[in-house]
Amino acid sequence: MYNEKVMDHFQNPRNAGEMLKPSGVGEVGNMKCGDIMKIFIKVENDHIVDINFLTFGCGAAIASSSVLTEMVKGKTLDEAMAVTNMDVANQLGGLPEAKLHCSNLAADALHKAIADYRSKNLSA
């Protein structure tokens, strides 16, 4: 069902876990779909210097979260905002058709985390 790269990220997820004092947090998904993703970012000098995820979801959801953290670690916030869900799926070498819409939401969670960070730091 899933290709090797997806299975690798599912089995050995990168940057899984909670971040204690994140600069920003974003959460997406809903229970009906069965996928909930939470992305934590640490931002320094407009760059994502650290990133973690927590995901309740299927293999595709976990792998998307994992590969996304690798893709954007070290990137500027603007660069990270440009990453789409489709980029994530492509980076994984593709996902099954049925999984593209519901479980491939990691970029959305990231964008929310960046927005969260920005909203908190607007006044600053």
Binding site: M31, C33, G34, D35, G57, C58, I62
Partner: protein, 407 residues
């Protein structure tokens, strides 16, 4: 890697004796049963004998058996066939909310063609209440269809009671016994059931062949047109090797059911108990007692079912989450939702279905593997983190999770 198959609800391996019974019909005996010559007659003899064997296993008469291409076709023939045959008498159909899609979607399709449909609710264990059926039957009801045993949660329905209610009211009763054959004793001499579906690959027979029992005198329209096979109710050259295999498989399946299902149920109960003991926040779905001897269905809170399946699969263990037939869907199981589960709990469901070959060692290895997987997945689950925080805060023990009847 040694592999462990715990998905007998999806399909079963072919019994070696069944294959042996089939092989001659892939070789020397290849005639068309409709042909008058010796090749045809020997095929016809095998067909007749298979029909007799199948009937005998069910307590039916040979002419009450229609061979089909599987359980899905049997269900469609029963429901579409009765609905059409009786459309002048009435257009109300009753089924349960936990049926397999081959029943549920057929009834719903008829709903779009002008039939009225009542879906009977189930309690928290997936049980239909005979009182609900009594109330649902109307003057224009022509068919009630309730499955013998559920494919996801294993709940065994009170078929004899439900059928009796229908018989008293003069309404046809159909039951999808696809999961029940070989697991619970079933005698059509005693059950006032009018139509019953089965599928060979669920009881160690071949895929692509099933049967519909149609009690003598039951009005039925056919779905497909062509040759005069199967008493003119199901045209097409007969799948003779498949039919011979079905007959052999059902003969084996109904032998010694009480003994075999008792020992399988013991293994099942050990599996359930081990899961509950060794993993926190596991809920048993389905009925604690009125349950298929091989069926275990649990919801593991804070993790999603498919990721559990993948972890198990990486260790060689085959399980399922809901019905294999509908794995293309992203919706949580309609069966679990009908039992009153919330979406999260439904998405965290795991089905382990035992077969005759499974051992205690396999079961114990599966529990240990699952325990590790749950720990790993909960480690990345935001839901589990929130739960732990709640627990740590309140030291609250968490609610009871055993089978709660809805009303």
């Amino acid at each position: 890697m040694k592999r462990i198959y715990l998905d007998h609800g999806a399909t079963t391996p072919l019994h070696p004796e069944v294959l042996e019974a089939m092989l001659p019909y892939f070789g020397q005996v290849f005639g068309n049963p409709s042909s008058v010559h010796s090749f045809g007659r020997e095929a016809r003899r095998a067909l007749d004998e298979s029909r007799e064997k199948t009937a005998l296993a069910l307590g039916a008469a040979p002419e009450e058996i229609i061979f089909t291409s599987g359980g899905t076709e049997a269900n469609n023939l029963a429901i579409q066939g009765v609905a059409e045959a009786l459309s002048a008498r009435g257009r109300h159909l009753i089924t349960s909310a936990v049926e397999h899609h081959a029943v549920l979607d057929t009834v719903k399709a008829l709903g779009k063609r002008g039939y009225a449909v009542t879906l009977l609710p189930v309690d928290g264990c997936g049980m239909v209440n005979p009182g609900d059926l009594k109330q649902a039957i109307r003057d224009d009801t022509v068919l009630v269809s309730v499955m013998t045993a559920n494919n996801e949660i294993g709940t065994v329905q009170p078929i004899e009671d439900l059928a009796r209610i229908c018989r008293e009211r003069g309404v046809y009763f159909h039951t999808d016994a696809v999961q029940a054959i070989g697991n619970i004793p079933l005698n059509l001499k005693e059950w006032p059931v009018d139509l019953l579906s089965l599928s060979a690959h669920k009881f160690y027979g071949p895929k692509g062949v099933g049967a519909l029992f149609v009690r003598r005198g039951t009005k039925l329209a056919k779905l497909a047109f062509g040759g005069g096979q199967e008493r003119k109710m199901r045209p097409g050259t007969e799948n003779l090797p498949g039919i011979v295999g079905l007959a052999k498989a059902i003969e084996l399946a109904v032998t010694d059911i009480p003994a075999r299902s008792t020992s399988m149920a013991a293994l099942r109960d050990h599996l359930i108990a081990s899961l509950m003991e060794q993993i926190e926040k596991v809920r048993l779905n389905g009925h604690p007692v009125q349950r298929l001897p091989g069926n275990v269905n649990v919801s593991v809170s804070y993790v999603e079912g498919e990721s559990l399946l993948l972890d198990l699969d990486l260790k060689g263990i085959a399980a399922s989450s809901g019905s294999a037939c509908t794995s293309g869907s992203l919706e949580a199981s309609h069966v679990l939702m009908a039992c009153g589960l919330d979406h999260q709990t439904a998405h965290g469901s795991l089905r382990l279905t035992l077969g005759h070959g499974n051992t205690l060692e396999e079961v114990d290895y599966t529990v240990a593997t699952l325990k590790e997987s749950v720990a790993r997945l909960r480690g990345m689950s935001s839901l589990y983190k929130s739960y732990r925080r709640e627990v740590d805060k309140s030291r609250h023990a968490g609610e009871e999770t055993i089978c709660i009847t809805k009303k």
